[in-house]
Symmetry: C2
């Protein structure tokens, strides 16, 4: 028996285009004489359309495509994901379903049983859980169909949810001899290894081979890495699709191949995720060109590399916006990087306009403008000029802020926070350095001077980030423990051997910056817990010891 | 028998302060010889702490307050809301519970059965549903305790959810003679009448009186109106608490009063909701002072009135930021309004800085700066100056944009979209006019000239909103039908007798502006569907016919 996992990159809600991709894949599968064709979760709408699912016309349009697909399933067993009306009058109006076809007929549906409702997932908002685990006979095989989360509970609690049901236990009774899984499983650092072990446990529990088909592509904040795979009945990884691009993973169940490597290059994957995040954000909206401010610092240098890989050098414009506090080395470093990337770089000095603002505001502030207000003005002038270029030519402004500074609020609203997409919003500063080293793995693309110099916002004389922030070797692990792992201050202080006061200060800063982050552009999610979607924290609250009445909640930089 | 509904205004997560409010209320209740004391849903944490609920220390802290409260319940039956660990190992780790006390003892808990997971509600993200509808005996009475949504399914489908269970049907078998409901039911236009009819149906079904205790106060986007009430066994409204402030609603079940009026003044309620939204946003964060740009237009005029009512005139600073396109009438109208409100108004002309930007950018843009880029620059200079004042003095910038322009993207990112709180983000332009008339009900506070003139962004010569937008008499009903009621373009065109093309253009504009709104400050929610929390629509999507490749997605104003 031969099977194909069609690792597609759908556009959310683009039902016509997504269906076209399905039909093309079915033709390819037919020509390759595949018996089984598996698509990702919610194939026809992409994962996840969110509140577009509340538009009945979208659901109707997806369901109507069943008829279109039927004739293309001759001689094959085909599984396609889509949202579907709940035929019962009780519960939520929709199911997250897989339509199962064979030989030009619709056999029926499998409805997703376990509906993730945590982090970036809101499935209970839309869907009613399925209650059955059907198995289909095809060519003498008993084929089980599962949808993403359905397979996860068997390895125990998923995040903080310990589902009442375990579909794999139910399937065990039915003794399937092949299990399929349609997934929309987003990329995050370390997630791939976890995914292998979850599905290995399923293959072992059911003592049958397993084909996992994951969505690929970026949709808003979420990047789906693909990496669809085939496991044998012992749970050995036999084949794996490429990450971060479309692929048909063709599997011949009758040949006895050797297990393949499941080695993971985490930095390469992280870089690829960011490139795909940028490319799909622009291309899926019909944009070609990106724009960024290139300061001579490491964050913008890295974003320039990512943008060039995502869009092509000729589609990226960089602006260097120096002020009196910009070092000449920084400017020449930016030039060197632009040469290395064959990137257009333009210089737009901001000092005249800065003087003009000071001239206007100083008398209004009794000649004593606050340092932070003054720093923010510089940052906002840069934001404004970048946005003027964006408005003038329709380039999307790529934001270059990193997760560490977003966490601490070390950033200026409407200034360096401007842009359409936060490329590094979920990348800590230590990861920025790691990615810069990865970019330079074969040759010096990012000038070493950019990597070596102390990070600085260059908004006043001799400023470095460490005037305000803890060293990143301290800050970043605390962020990981507090934001991703949700450890308490005491637990973090103890396990990391950092003073409790420092940890508590960091946590307070994180919460104080909540209102700022709420106005950030969406950022590409690459960890288990990003600051954008998936983290719903109130701005006004009395739980974390906020510095009440302090102006710090509104002062930026 | 005497009962009190304690309509509290908690701060999210401020467990110490909220518990103090509970204890004070219990002392007041004791001195009034109340038999039954009812608090709102999630009394101890406020509704809703969202992801703060994922911090185990918060749940522990709330549960520890049970011991603190117990001794204060002597001689009374007391019901307090809190999040609580699910004692079973299966499902979500928490319940949304009510702790039931009597005579200095904890009797047990009622767990919320129906967990709203739609619109602004995410309860399935945190809570496991309760499965029982307990009834308690007290002084020979059988008292049923329900939590908010538990009472709603009995009148049929709640929004798009048709819950499997109906707790009121279960309670019917148990024949309670008094039913209590703890609620965290947010304000929205027209919601009050719906709430009455839902609870009337419950009182009638159970043939017993009903006491409804609602939270009051604003938490981020949501405003809770209070309006707790008491219904007799026929469902007649016997007593109702004031809206938008704390109150103990004292009810004597043994006296036979006449039904009271349930008349609703919708405009007054709307205005009160906005005032409370502003006041709580600032005060609960420890801020006193607000700041706004006063253009001489109706939106900023209305926000100035709301801010003065919320914070006091001496705590509000207004800036008038004229350019070459500002009319002298607009400036004198702003001055007149400031005098009427006894508000400090400062003039900060922006034309010099605007010239400076044009001087810098014109050569870079080959002397041909696009009109929209030029308009955005003016708006962003204003945003920057307002933010400089905010940074300098710690005033919170109040954003004055309305829902109609936010919907259409007729607004400039980082310009007139700047601020900490969108006061009118959920108020359509027609409602702005209605509220202005309400403000002027006794005397001319807002100069009539401000109300009468054609709305204009004043970013170019002789500009009015209608150069770009449909008339608000067309736009606003389409917004209501599409955003709030989720009708299709065809349905709207037909029912409103508007051409399909106009309706479709409006819908396209709404979706094109999605990325802008994602960077807006949080806005006070006053309708059934606001653009902020409660509406999760992807930015990158192919469902609504977007103008692909058009630059309009990033061009503002």
């Amino acid at each position: 028996m031969k099977a194909i996992a069609v690792q597609l990159n759908p556009t959310i809600g683009a039902i016509e285009a997504n269906t076209e991709k399905v039909l093309s894949a079915l033709k390819r599968a037919q020509s390759k004489k595949a018996d089984i064709v598996l698509f990702p979760e919610l194939t026809l709408t992409g994962y996840c359309p969110d509140d577009l699912l509340l538009d009945p016309a979208l659901v109707d349009a997806a369901m109507q495509k069943i008829e279109t697909i039927v004739p293309f399933t001759q001689g094959m067993f085909v599984v396609v994901g889509l949202p579907r009306w709940n035929p019962k009058d009780k519960g939520k109006p929709l199911h997250n379903s897989a339509a199962v076809f064979a030989d030009g007929k619709l056999l029926g549906y499998k409805n997703k049983t376990l509906l993730p409702t945590y982090d970036v997932f809101d499935e209970r908002r839309f869907f009613e859980p399925g209650r059955e685990e059907p198995v289909w006979d095809y060519l003498g095989h008993k084929i089980a169909v599962t949808i993403c989360e359905d397979a996860w509970q068997h390895s125990g609690r998923v995040g903080d949810t310990n589902y009442q049901d375990d579909p794999i236990l139910v399937l065990k009774e039915k003794k399937p001899d092949f299990v399929l899984n349609l997934s929309g499983s987003p990329y995050s650092l370390h997630h791939k290894a976890e995914r292998f072990s979850i599905f290995q446990a399923v293959a072992r529990a059911l003592r049958c081979p397993l084909l996992f088909c994951n969505q690929v592509g970026a949709n808003d904040q979420l990047v789906f890495d693909g990496h669809s795979f085939f496991l044998n009945e012992k749970g050995d990884l036999m084949q794996i699709a490429r990450g971060f691009e479309e692929e048909d993973l063709f599997v011949d169940l009758s040949t006895h191949a050797c297990p393949c490597s499941s080695a993971i290059d985490e930095t390469k994957d992280l870089y690829s995720a960011l490139v795909l995040g940028v490319r799909d954000y622009l291309h899926k909206q019909g944009f070609k060109k990106g724009l960024l401010g290139l300061s001579g610092g490491i964050d913008s240098a890295l974003v320039a590399c990512i943008a060039v890989d995502a869009l092509g050098a000729k589609n990226v414009l960089a602006l260097n916006l120096p002020s009196r506090y910009s070092s000449s080395e920084g400017i020449s470093d930016a030039e060197k990087l632009a040469r290395n990337l064959q990137l257009e770089l333009r210089h737009v000095p901001i000092d005249d306009i800065f003087q003009n603002y000071l001239h206007l505001l100083n008398p209004l502030f009794a000649g004593k403008i606050e340092e932070e207000a003054e720093e923010n003005i510089q940052s906002r002038i840069r934001g404004m000029i970048l946005m003027a270029f964006s408005n003038q030519w329709g380039h999307i402004l790529l934001n270059t802020g990193n997760k560490s500074e977003m966490a601490m609020g070390y950033t200026t609203l409407y200034g360096d926070m401007a842009g359409g997409l936060g490329v590094l919003h979920d990348v800590t500063k230590l990861h920025v350095y790691q990615l810069a080293a990865y970019v330079n793995r074969d040759r010096e693309v990012i000038p070493q001077a950019i990597i070596d110099k102390a990070p600085s916002a260059e908004l006043k004389e001799n400023q470095t980030d460490f005037d305000t922030l803890p060293r990143f070797e301290i800050l970043d692990p605390v962020l990981e423990d507090y934001v991703e792992k949700r450890l308490s201050a005491a637990q973090i202080a103890c396990s990391r051997s950092i003073s409790l006061e420092i940890v508590e200060n960091i946590i307070r800063s994180i919460h104080r910056a909540e209102y700022k982050r709420r106005q950030a552009p969406i950022g590409i999610r690459v960890t288990q817990k990003a600051f954008s979607k998936g983290r719903i924290v109130p701005i006004v609250q009395g739980w974390t010891a906020q510095a009440k009445g302090s102006t710090s909640a509104i002062v930026s930089t």
